[in-house]
C-alpha cells in the first residue's frame, strides 16, 4: 500500500512537465481477464485506454495476500501484447492476488481498477487434443467412436486437475448441434446416424471447478451408405401391407350386399296405397287419412290391368295345406287389412276374414274411412261365388283366408255388377298367368275381371287365376264374353305350386285324380253371386251349369232381383259341386265386390 502511494506521488510530480497542447495523460486501462490453463501458471490481459497521443507504457503490479510487497509482472512478453504471464514460480494457489495495471505517458499515468483473483477459480484449460473419429459397426448399423486426449499441459495424471469432457456433433449442412456430456472418459460413442451423411465433431473440457475450454477444431467424418438394407425391409413391409389390403378389400367386395344389409338394413316403408309419407311428416293426420280416400272411388273408368293387381294373395288351404301369402305389386284402393287380425303382422295385407266381413256387412261404422267406403260400396257388389269345403270361419280365426279360395262360375255376375259399378273386390287377389295363356287383360278389355281357376284333372299342375276385381263393370257384353270364359269352378282348392315371380303364383289343384270328388256330407251350395249387402245368389245342383238362380235373403236386408245368366262353360273335367241347395249362411263371406 505504501509503495502504491509512493508511485502515485512520483507520477503526479511528473505531470507538470508535460504541458503539450493536444496531448493528455493516458486513459484508464482495464483488466479484461486472467486465466490459468493448468492451475500452475496464469496470464492476465488488459485493455489499454486512450494513449493521449503520446507513447504510453503499461505496467502491471500485484499484491499477494497478506504480503505488503508490491510486485511487478515478471513476464510481459510470453503471452503477447498487453498481457502478463505468471510462471510457475510466481504462481501460488489459494492465494489472493490483487492486480493493477498502470498506464504511463509523458503527461501522466492512470491506474486501472484493481482485480482480485485466486488461481483456483480462473482455470480454463486448452481444448482437448488428438480428436479422432472412427466409424464402427454394431450388427450392421454404423456408429461413431470419438476419442481424444486431454490438453497437454493439464496434469490429469497426478490428479492435480480433474477434467470433464463434452462432445458435440452436427450434420455438415445443418445448424443445430447435438451435445453430449462425456464425463471423465476419453471415448464416446454416437449412434443413430444418417446414412451417407457427413458429420462434424468437436470436443471441449472443463476442470471440476472452472471454465469450459474452447471447442476443439472440427473433425469431419462421413457415414457410409447403409440405406439399401433399410430400404429392402421397407419394401417387404410395403408389399405385405398392400397384399393384405387387397385381400381385405376383395372380401369386402364379395360381401358388400350382406354388409350393406347388416350396416344399413332396409327400412320397410308404408305399404298402404295412397299413404303419403310426406303428408305424415308435415304433421296433419287428417290430411294423411284423407289422402287415403280414393278420389276416384268408385271407379268410373275401367281400371287398368295394373290396377287390378292386388297386393296380397292369401290362399288358405285347409287340411294340411299351407297357407301361402304373396305380395302383389300394389294395393288397390279400398282393400284393407281386416281389423280383426291384430295378430297379423303383415302390413298392408289384404285379408279376408269371414267374421269381419260378416260384421262389416252389417254396416257398422268403422274407424277408418276406408272401411266405411268399402261398406258403402258393398251394395251391389258383384256376385261372387264362394264355396268352400270343410271350412268354417271359426277355424280361420286369426288366420287370413282366401276369400274366395275357389271361385265358382260367375254366370250371374252380370246382374249384380251392373247395379254397382265401381264395386271392387274386397280381397286382393293376384293375377296369375300361366305361361302361354292369353293375357288376362284381353278379358279385361272387355271389362271382365274375375277370378278364375282353370283347372282340369288333365292339367293338375297348371291353373289359371285372374284377379277378379271389378265385376261391376261387367255389362251385357261382358256377360257374353264371360260365357267364353273358362268353365265355372267347382269347389276346389288350389295349392300354390310355385311362385314364379314376385307377384305371380302358379296354382295347382289340390287333389289327385280327376278333379275334386264330391265330398260326402257336403251340404253347401255354391254361391253364384252376391247382390247388394245381403243377397246371395245361389246355384242349385241341378243347375250346375249355372242356369238356375236362387235368391237368398240374409239378415233381413233388402233384396234385389237378380238376373241369372249363364255362367261359364264347364271346363273339361269340371266336377259339379255336390250342392244340395243349402247354403250355410254362417259361411258367407259377403264381398264388397
Amino acid at each position: 500500500m505504501k509503495n502504491m502511494v509512493v508511485v502515485g506521488v512520483l507520477l503526479l510530480s511528473l505531470m507538470p512537465h508535460a504541458n503539450g497542447a493536444g496531448f493528455s495523460p493516458p486513459g484508464k486501462p482495464t483488466l479484461t481477464s486472467c486465466r490459468s490453463p493448468e492451475k500452475e501458471t496464469f496470464t492476465c490481459w488488459w485493455e489499454p485506454g486512450s494513449d493521449g497521443g503520446l507513447p504510453t507504457t503499461y505496467r502491471l503490479f500485484y499484491l499477494k495476500e497478506n504480503i505488503e510487497t508490491v510486485y511487478e509482472c515478471p513476464d510481459y512478453l510470453t503471452a503477447g501484447e498487453n498481457s502478463c504471464f505468471f510462471s510457475k514460480n510466481n504462481t501460488s494457489i489459494w492465494v489472493n492476488y490483487n492486480i493493477t495495471v498502470v498506464a504511463t505517458n509523458e503527461l501522466g499515468s492512470t491506474m486501472s481498477d484493481p482485480v482480485d483473483i485466486d488461481v483456483m477459480y480462473i482455470v480454463m484449460p486448452h481444448p482437448p487434443e488428438k480428436v479422432l473419429v472412427s466409424v464402427l459397426e454394431d450388427k450392421d448399423w454404423p456408429f461413431l467412436r470419438v476419442s481424444w486426449e486431454p490438453p497437454q499441459k493439464a496434469d490429469t495424471r497426478s490428479g492435480w486437475i480433474t477434467l470433464v469432457y463434452e462432445v458435440r456433433i452436427k450434420l455438415e449442412e445443418k445448424d443445430d448441434w447435438e451435445v453430449h456430456l462425456a464425463g471423465q472418459q476419453r471415448v464416446f460413442n454416437i449412434f443413430s446416424l444418417l446414412s451417407g451423411g457427413t458429420y462434424i465433431v468437436q470436443v471441449r473440457c472443463k476442470p471440476d471447478h472452472g471454465f469450459w475450454s474452447e471447442w476443439s477444431s472440427s473433425t469431419y467424418v462421413k457415414v457410409p451408405n447403409y440405406f439399401h438394407r433399410e430400404n429392402s425391409v421397407w419394401i417387404l413391409i410395403t408389399t405385405f401391407t398392400a397384399f393384405i389390403f387387397l385381400i381385405v378389400s376383395w372380401m369386402i367386395h364379395m360381401n358388400r350386399h350382406s354388409l350393406k344389409h347388416c350396416i344399413l338394413p332396409p327400412v320397410p316403408g308404408p305399404k298402404i296405397k295412397g299413404f303419403d309419407k310426406q303428408l305424415l311428416k308435415s304433421g296433419k293426420s287428417g290430411d294423411v287419412f284423407n289422402a287415403l280416400v280414393a278420389s276416384d272411388f268408385p271407379p268410373t273408368t275401367p281400371p287398368r290391368c295394373e290396377d287390378l293387381l292386388v297386393e296380397y294373395l292369401e290362399v288358405y288351404i285347409p287340411e294340411e295345406r299351407e297357407l301361402m301369402r304373396e305380395e302383389s305389386k300394389h294395393l288397390q284402393d279400398g282393400f284393407l287389412k281386416s281389423e280383426g287380425f291384430a295378430s297379423d303382422s303383415d302390413s298392408g295385407l289384404g285379408s279376408c276374414n269371414s267374421h269381419t266381413l260378416l260384421m262389416d256387412n252389417s254396416g257398422e261404422a268403422k274407424e277408418t274411412d276406408r272401411r266405411t267406403d268399402q261398406e258403402r260400396s258393398r251394395p251391389g257388389a258383384e256376385a261372387l261365388t264362394y264355396a268352400r269345403e270343410d271350412v268354417s270361419p271359426d277355424m280361420s280365426s286369426g288366420r287370413v283366408k282366401t276369400w274366395p279360395s275357389v271361385f265358382s262360375p260367375l254366370t250371374p255376375y252380370s246382374s249384380g255388377p251392373t247395379d254397382q259399378p265401381g264395386a271392387k273386390q274386397h280381397c286382393l287377389s293376384d293375377s296369375v298367368y300361366p305361361p302361354g295363356s292369353t293375357s288376362p287383360c284381353s278379358a279385361q278389355d272387355l271389362g271382365l275381371n274375375y277370378w278364375e281357376f282353370c283347372f282340369s284333372s288333365m292339367q293338375p299342375h297348371l291353373t289359371q287365376t285372374r284377379s277378379d276385381v271389378n265385376v261391376s263393370d261387367i255389362g251385357p257384353e261382358r256377360a257374353a264374353a264371360r260365357q267364353q270364359s273358362p268353365a265355372p269352378r267347382p269347389t276346389e282348392y288350389v295349392e300354390v305350386q310355385r311362385v314364379s315371380e314376385e307377384d305371380m303364383v302358379l296354382l295347382q289343384p289340390v287333389g289327385p285324380g280327376p278333379g275334386p270328388p264330391a265330398r260326402p256330407g257336403e251340404d253347401y251350395s255354391r254361391v253364384k253371386g252376391v247382390r247388394g249387402h245381403n243377397v246371395l245368389l245361389l246355384q242349385t245342383e241341378e243347375e250346375a251349369d249355372g242356369r238356375a238362380c236362387e235368391e237368398l235373403e240374409t239378415k233381413g236386408a233388402a233384396h234385389k232381383p237378380t238376373a241369372c245368366s249363364h255362367g261359364g262353360l264347364p271346363a273339361p273335367g269340371r266336377a259339379a259341386p255336390a250342392a244340395s241347395g243349402y247354403v250355410d249362411t254362417a259361411m258367407f263371406v259377403l264381398p264388397s265386390c
Binding site: 489459494w94 492435480w160 476419453r186
Partner: protein, 229 residues
C-alpha cells in the same frame, strides 16, 4: 427466483449423497476391539471420502455466493482480505504451489486434511449462531451451513479411518477443544459481523478446495485408474 435456483443447485449438489446413503461411518469401538462396521476396502473408503469433500466444497461455494449476495454490499465484495482478519488456518503449514505440494508425502497429505477438517468444525458451529442472529437470513443458507458442519464431522471420521488403514497408525483422538480460534462474546456491529462472516465463508471455501485436492492427489498416487492417466 434466485432462491429457487439456489435450491435446485443445492439439490443437484447433494444428489450423490443420496446415492451413497450418507450415514456417517461410526466405527469407533473400544480400542483393539472388533469394529462394529462392516468392513470396507481402502479404495472404496477413499472414494467415499473424496465424494464427501467434493460435496462439501460445492455447498460451501454456494453458501458463500448466497451470503455475498444477501449481505455484502457490492463495493466490498472482492476485498475479502482487507477486513483485516486472515483466514484462521493461515497458521497451518500448507504449501501453496504445485511443486511443493507434489513433494508432500502421503502421510503428510492425510494429516493436513485432518488438520483442516478439525480446525473448521467449531468455526462452522459458531457461524450458524451468528447467522441466526441476522433477521433475514434465508433458510437455505442456514440449512446449508448446518449440513456442512454435519458432513465435516463425518469427513473427519472417514479421514481418521483412512489414516488408520493407510498409514497403520493408531486411533487419533479428536480434540476439538484444542483450537478455539474464535471467541466472540460481544455483539459486534452489523457490517463488521457481516464482513467477518464473509471472510469466514471465503476461507472455508478455500480450505474445502484444499481438502478435495489433497485427497484426489492421494488417490491418484494410490491407484492407476483412467482418470489419473
Amino acid at each position: 427466483m434466485m432462491a429457487a435456483v439456489h435450491w435446485s443447485l443445492w439439490a443437484a449438489a447433494l444428489w450423490p449423497s443420496l446415492l451413497t446413503a450418507c450415514i456417517p461411518l461410526d466405527c469407533s469401538g473400544e480400542p483393539g476391539g472388533v469394529s462394529r462396521c462392516p468392513s470396507i476396502t481402502q479404495e472404496k473408503l477413499l472414494d467415499r471420502v473424496i465424494q464427501h469433500a467434493e460435496l462439501i466444497y460445492r455447498v460451501s461455494e454456494e453458501s458463500c455466493s448466497l451470503f455475498e449476495e444477501m449481505f455484502v454490499p457490492f463495493p466490498l465484495r472482492l476485498q475479502r482480505n482487507q477486513a483485516g482478519s486472515a483466514c484462521i488456518t493461515k497458521a497451518l503449514p500448507i504449501p501453496s504451489s504445485k511443486s511443493e505440494i507434489q513433494q508432500i508425502s502421503d502421510k503428510w497429505l492425510l494429516h493436513s486434511v485432518l488438520m483442516l477438517v478439525q480446525s473448521w468444525i467449531e468455526p462452522l458451529v459458531y457461524l450458524q449462531t451468528t447467522l441466526d442472529r441476522y433477521d433475514d437470513a434465508p433458510d437455505m443458507l442456514l440449512n446449508k451451513t448446518k449440513w456442512v458442519s454435519d458432513k465435516l464431522i463425518s469427513l473427519e471420521q472417514g479421514v481418521v479411518v483412512l489414516i488408520q488403514k493407510m498409514l497403520d497408525e493408531g486411533m487419533l483422538t479428536t480434540n476439538h477443544s484444542e483450537q478455539s480460534l474464535l471467541q466472540y462474546d460481544e455483539q459486534p456491529e452489523m457490517l463488521e459481523s457481516v464482513m467477518r462472516d464473509y471472510a469466514l465463508l471465503s476461507c472455508f471455501k478455500k480450505d474445502a478446495h484444499k481438502m478435495e485436492l489433497f485427497l484426489k492427489l492421494l488417490k491418484c498416487r494410490q491407484t492407476d485408474k483412467y482418470n489419473c492417466a
